[in-house]
Amino acid sequence: MLGWGPPTFNADIYAGDAVVNWANFVSQFFNGLVLGALLALISSGLTIIYGTLGVLNLAHGAMFMLGGYAGWLAYSYSGSFIVAVIVGSLFVMLVGVLIERVVIRQFYGRPPEDQLLVTFGLGIVIVEAVRFWFGSLSKTVPPPSGLVGITPIGFMMYPTYRLALLGIIAVALIVLYVVLYRTRIGMIVRAGIEDSGMVDALGIDVYKVFMLVFGIGSMAAGFAGIVNAPVVSIAPDVGESILVQTFVVVVIGGVGSFPGAVLGGLIAGEIISITSMFNPGYSYVMLFVAMTLVLVLRPYGLLGAAGRE
């Protein structure tokens, strides 16, 4: 493993790194599911915003971070995880609505470059404001007392809270699904994704819909931020790498497609997890390889449709 002789396939690169066996495969597959669920939730927020408003929100990662901090603050005052989750999500929703109303609305008529720049700038402002107030030292939100510890799940020991997280996110995704597919507002939002001009022509105040969608999309990120806080302690930069991954998920799943975001999230989680079984150094490389393949073979993503903005 360490000798200076000529490298063989089994030596320098692979042997030391890989833990390839069935037990690990099952473990990694399960872990990929948890990773993927989180990505799915954040991405669904990003994708409905982009699908409806046509604005690629580069501040989405900052919303994720903000949810964590708002929740953490609420937790430090109330000591209740449930309060933290509610405050975290609602606060971010409010911030989202405000941002749409005050900033984004001025940009609908402007070129996409401007929209990218302004959301990118907003992201920086939010992150640095949080850093200014709370510093760079990471903050921890402990999981609710019933969900502390490790649970044996047959093939491996898994952190109890991460198991619960899978359920929490599944519920959140179902709620989002019901809102989007089983309510009148959801119908309008979906119509807006397909053709916002037509929705406007039908006499529906499309701006109100935009504001609502931006709020809901942000809330999805904020909710993810706080429920993820017991897993990954929060710091001002926490949304940065998540943002990149959610873009990949949206591209794989198809822009504007809620089911696409869920599918894309799960695929991304599995790619990261399973690849790392063979060589962790390649897990993100493979993620981008997958994205490239999708772009080549299905330019609109797995569940996307041509013509959506």
Partner: protein, 448 residues
């Protein structure tokens, strides 16, 4: 020649400006010309950078990203040192006796930019500092990728580079530079210092899982530690989990480790990556069943993850504040730092402070800011007192020969104060820890 210029249609104004420059050159004060007579031709920012009554040092430290906490820490050390140099503080004078108020009669100024621990940013920022502030030295790094990039940049620009935090063997190994100096310990010295302690504590023939950040620091530290343990303890590396800098979720790496049959996790991750991987290893139930080892200590790790998670963790470090009981200068440093910032210093701040203090010693010893003369002052290899006892620079690779401190995390119940996280187990003398100067392929490059 002037006629050629005229022929090419140069405007009268250009000509006038050129003329003014010539006249101006002739009437410049003698002080400017004097160094020329002393065989000290202009180079880099010399002499322009040291002509006023202040000299400026440019710092590119990470204030955002995975290493932000540690970047702020080293910045605090720098600021304290600058304050002390300018005031002629007693502590500075113990290290640099010729410092009065300022260095060679000039006050020192620090200019700072956020590198985000990215090499490109750091180099661009230092370039800006050179252009706009005529800095006479550069510093800053918490990532060896940045340190290595600035090494090369320093050599090209002929401006001294005081390496801040950098644990890669390459920084004073294959990527070393004549213009660069490192104060802190690194992979090879960490391995040789902590290796014997680990073999003694955990026994021979253990299985180790490594967690390695994917850049020069991670790979060289992992290699050095693994080599030591394999050769001297008969340990086996059962897996090496390489993760990118800035990873948030370590679950897939920890899942591999859970299935690897390891007895010990050797966690080379740093900054926020270390905080998160230590927390998540606990969540996954890997620790304390598997023992955690931190071969390259992270400032504020214990504060961020809590003492319960660093209990019984062995780490190699540059400095820990309880060394004040052993070294008088450490006691002074801890007191001065705490007075200014209200908490005990960690090793990042200590390293930055020492780098500045040593620089002040060398410049004031050389009697000039002329870089080659200052470099030769470092290369004399004189021994001097530091916050960890007597140290000296190795001329062949510009590495400070200094002890490595082995600490072990205290159990929360054994802590005597809220900052009493680590117990110093051993201070291992530097001499025996280092490889031969050329073992890592160091070629320093030219003075001019």
């Amino acid at each position: 020649m002037p006629f050629d210029v005229l022929k090419d249609g140069v405007s009268r104004r250009t000509l006038l400006r050129g003329g003014a420059g010539l006249v101006g050159g002739a009437v410049l004060p003698m002080g400017w010309i004097a160094p020329g007579f002393a065989d000290e031709p202009a180079m880099g920012t010399w002499p322009a950078g040291s002509q006023g009554d202040t000299v400026t040092i440019g710092a590119a430290v990470p204030r955002t990203g995975a290493y932000a906490v540690q970047g702020e820490d080293e910045l605090k050390g720098m600021q304290l040192a600058v304050e002390h140099i300018n005031a002629g503080n007693d502590l500075i004078k113990k290290i640099a006796p010729k410092v009065t108020k300022g260095v060679l009669g000039k006050q020192v100024k620090l200019v700072v930019a956020d590198s985000g621990a990215k090499p490109n940013n750091a180099v661009q920022e230092q370039q800006t500092f050179i252009n706009e502030n005529k800095i006479i030295a550069m510093t800053g790094s918490t990532s060896s990728a940045v340190a290595v990039a600035l090494n090369k940049f320093a050599q090209r620009e002929k401006i001294l580079y005081l390496v801040a935090i950098s644990g890669s063997n390459d920084t004073t190994g294959k990527d070393c530079a004549r213009y660069s100096f490192r104060q802190c310990f690194y992979g090879e010295t960490a391995a040789n210092a902590i290796g014997p302690v680990l073999v003694k504590a955990y026994g021979k023939g253990k299985k180790a899982a490594f967690m390695t950040p994917d850049y020069t620091y991670g790979h060289t530290v992992t290699k050095s530690v693994n080599e030591y343990l394999t050769k001297n303890g008969g340990w086996t590396q059962v897996t090496d989990q390489v993760s990118p800098l800035g990873t948030q979720d370590f679950s897939q790496y920890l899942t591999n480790i859970a299935n690897s049959g390891a007895d010990v996790i050797i966690n080379v991750n740093w900054g926020r990556d270390a905080v998160l991987s230590v927390q998540q290893a606990k969540q996954f139930g890997l620790t304390p069943k598997m023992k955690m080892v931190i071969p390259y200590q992270i400032p504020f790790l214990a504060k961020e993850v809590g003492a319960a998670l660093t209990e019984d963790v062995y780490a190699a470090t540059d400095f820990w504040w309880t060394l004040e009981d052993k070294y008088p200068l450490a006691k002074m440093f801890v007191a001065e730092f705490e007075k200014k910032y209200g908490y005990k210093p960690e090793w990042g701040a200590n390293n930055a402070y020492m780098q500045f203090a040593i620089w002040a010693r060398m410049v004031s010893g050389a009697g000039t800011f002329y870089p080659p003369t200052v470099i030769k002052e470092y290369e004399k290899g004189e021994k001097f007192d530091s916050t960890v006892g007597e140290v000296y620079f190795r001329a062949a690779d510009h590495q400070l020969v200094r002890p490595v401190v082995i600490v072990k995390g205290k159990a929360p119940k054994d802590m005597k104060g809220k900052e009493d996280y680590w117990e110093v187990m051993e201070v291992v003398p530097g001499e025996g820890l280092m490889q031969k100067p050329d073992a890592f392929g160091c070629k320093l490059g030219s003075y001019t």
